[in-house]
């Protein structure tokens, strides 16, 4: 461990579902992730990978324990504060791209910037630059329905990066793609990680991909077994 304070810190983080019987989706997780790290989260399905992801992404609230992002305790924040952190500090890439179908690729990438209150012109400049970076400069005015799966996933990555978030979360970002496209997307993420020193946390089933990460976190039955 370096002296630098971690960008994400989990202290005894627990998520329990009460559904007739108690079920610990995440059980007393303790974890520190440094700025600029590329972390892979692996484990069998149902092991709590997605739960961990959603908790770090502030999409879900823990049952107990503490979550620190950039040294701020975010566990008991209001919806407005959590939304603002999601907007400014977190970028999401899900298995499915979840692009807004009625908006062009460019507008989709602009959206987080507009939510942040940026002017349209400003947002457009940033979004164009990002779409160029993911190799879609000639597809900017196409809607998701007119793009391939790989292209849409690249748009989703550009969108995740648009507000220059400190942390990018990927929930099986290549899970819906063929191996070749998947590898390409993964390489893109790795490259962006090196370029901007953003922290990447990626849930994956793919061992090859996990091996390329800086660190592998393995989850079994809601417990972190290997760090």
């Amino acid at each position: 461990m370096t002296e630098e304070s971690p960008i994400i810190e989990l202290k005894n983080l627990t998520k329990t579902y009460k559904n007739g019987m108690e079920f610990h989706a995440l059980d007393n997780a303790n974890l520190k992730i440094k700025k600029g790290e590329f972390v892979a989260i692996v484990g069998p399905s149902g092991s709590g990978k997605s739960t961990l992801m959603h908790l770090i992404g502030l999409l879900d609230t823990p049952s107990s324990g503490t979550l620190l992002i950039d040294r701020n305790d975010v566990t008991n924040m209001s919806d407005k504060e959590r939304s603002e952190i999601r907007n400014r500090m977190l970028g999401f890439v899900f298995q499915y791209h979840h692009l807004l179908p009625d908006f062009t690729a460019l507008e989709n990438v602009m959206m987080p910037l507009l939510i942040a209150g940026k002017k349209r012109k400003e947002a457009k400049v940033i979004a164009e630059k990002l779409l160029k970076e993911v190799g879609l400069e000639d597809r900017m005015d196409h809607k998701p329905g007119e793009l391939s799966g790989g292209q849409n996933q690249r748009v989703a990555i550009a969108r995740a990066l648009s507000c220059s978030p400190a942390i990018v979360l990927g929930d099986e970002p290549t899970g819906n793609l063929d191996t070749k496209t998947g590898d390409m997307i993964y390489e893109l993420l790795r490259q962006l990680n090196k370029e901007y020193n953003q922290t990447f946390i990626v849930v994956t089933h793919n061992d090859d991909m996990a091996l390329k990460a800086d660190r592998i976190i393995r989850l079994v039955d809601g417990k972190i077994t290997v760090q």
Binding site: K80, S83, R86, Y96, L100, P112, R159, C163
Partner: protein, 389 residues
């Protein structure tokens, strides 16, 4: 532009078919409302014109226990000086029997100063034969209603015998026939004040004063002022309350029905919007992940409902006004015109104020209606929403 509005507008545009249906439903309801309102205002105005403006707005009668007003010239003078009064007409009226050949009928014989009486009742515009002014020029003349003339079988120029217990029987020459389309055509006759005084065998007295106001809504207020002269004064809302009641009941029931139509149309928008919430679950989840707050998600859907309502209201009022003006142009066939008391066109009044109120009300109603689907959208758990695809 705020991004909530950006998203709301884009989604409305993207769901063309649903948008057309929603806007169409509201527009249809608003159109019916607009046309009906224009008709209602038109008919109410017509009703006031044919009734309230035909009879005195305030009637002055003798003091308690008296049959006549003696010093009526002073009273007429003072009354015409009261603020808000536009015309004053003294009269002496009573019952009389009319006989022509073998026909005999009872009716009211009202002695008036023709010019002043006309300012109250506009009877000159209702004259179908002869002239009201004739009463001034020659003694022992009479103007009668069309129905009474038919029943007595008298024509212009004929003389009818008028009599009544305790009165001086007279033979009066018919110098005019009026047609108002109301029961007055059978029950009212006019003669000069002098002739009436002679017939009823009294001196220079009257038994009432008719007063017309600049604004007929102020009848009670002006009546109270006139009462300071010591005579009894009653406003038309007191003497003819049934007219007000009729108008009030019709307007209220009409408005309730129309209000319900608009509410139903808004419910259509709510259910359409509810469906679109279900269709947009994963989008809502992603918007939340991107940092949209719960209240922003609500705003997006309330805005959609409000915009659909506003579009519907605008389209509806525009077509409604166009249809109303079209109806106003329509000329009634002569045959049915008689049935409706001489109206030649359908009375239509489009008031800008009404249109603005309708647009505003429909817009607000739809904003409120949008709250339910908006809450459904905002309630979604972003984790579930994102995993839903």
């Amino acid at each position: 532009m705020r991004y909530e509005l950006f998203i709301a507008l884009r989604q409305i545009r993207a769901r063309k078919f649903q948008t057309i249906l929603s806007v169409g439903a509201i527009a249809l309801a608003v159109m019916v409302l607009t046309v009906s309102q224009a008709l209602m205002v038109g008919f109410t105005g017509e009703l006031y014109n044919t009734t309230v403006n035909k009879f005195p707005h305030v009637s002055v009668s003798p003091q308690e226990g008296e049959d006549y007003i003696y010093l009526y010239r002073t009273l007429v003078d003072e009354t015409s000086k009261v603020e808000g009064v536009s015309a004053v007409s003294p009269f002496l009226t009573g019952k009389a029997s009319f006989r022509f050949k073998t026909n005999s009928l009872n009716a009211e014989l009202k002695g008036v100063l023709p010019l002043q009486e006309n300012n109250i009742s506009n009877i000159e515009t209702d004259m179908v034969e002869g002239d009201l002014r004739e009463l001034e020029y020659s003694r022992n003349t009479i103007v009668i209603g069309s129905k009474l003339a038919d029943k007595l079988e008298v024509n212009l120029g004929d003389s009818v015998d008028v009599s009544f217990p305790n009165s001086n029987p007279l033979s009066l020459r018919v110098v005019g026939i009026f047609h108002t389309g109301s029961p007055l055509d059978e029950s009212l006759t006019y003669t000069s004040l002098d002739t009436a005084q002679e017939f009823y065998n009294v001196q220079d007295v009257i038994n009432g004063v008719s007063v017309k106001l600049e604004d007929f809504n102020r009848d009670r207020e002006v009546a109270a002022k006139i009462e300071k002269t010591g005579y009894k004064a009653r406003g038309w809302t007191e003497t003819n309350p049934e007219i007000l009641r009729t108008i009030a009941i019709e307007t209220t029931s009409n408005n309730v029905v129309l209000g319900l139509i608009v509410v139903i149309a808004s419910f259509g928008v709510v259910s359409a919007l509810n469906l679109s919430v279900i269709g947009a679950i994963s989008q809502i989840g992603m918007l939340r992940a991107m940092g949209a707050t719960i209240s922003s998600i609500k705003t997006i859907f309330v805005l959609q409902s409000g915009i659909l309502g506003l579009l519907g209201a605008l389209v509806g009022t525009l077509t409604g006004v166009a249809i109303s003006l079209g109806i106003g142009q329509y000329e009634m066939p002569a045959a049915s015109s008689k049935l409706y008391g001489g109206m030649t066109t359908i009375p239509i009044i489009v008031r800008i104020g009404d249109i603005l109120v309708i647009i505003l009300a429909v817009f607000l109603l739809n904003l409120i209606a949008g709250i339910y689907p908006a809450q459904q959208a905002a309630k979604l758990d972003p984790v579930k929403a994102i995993s839903s695809k």
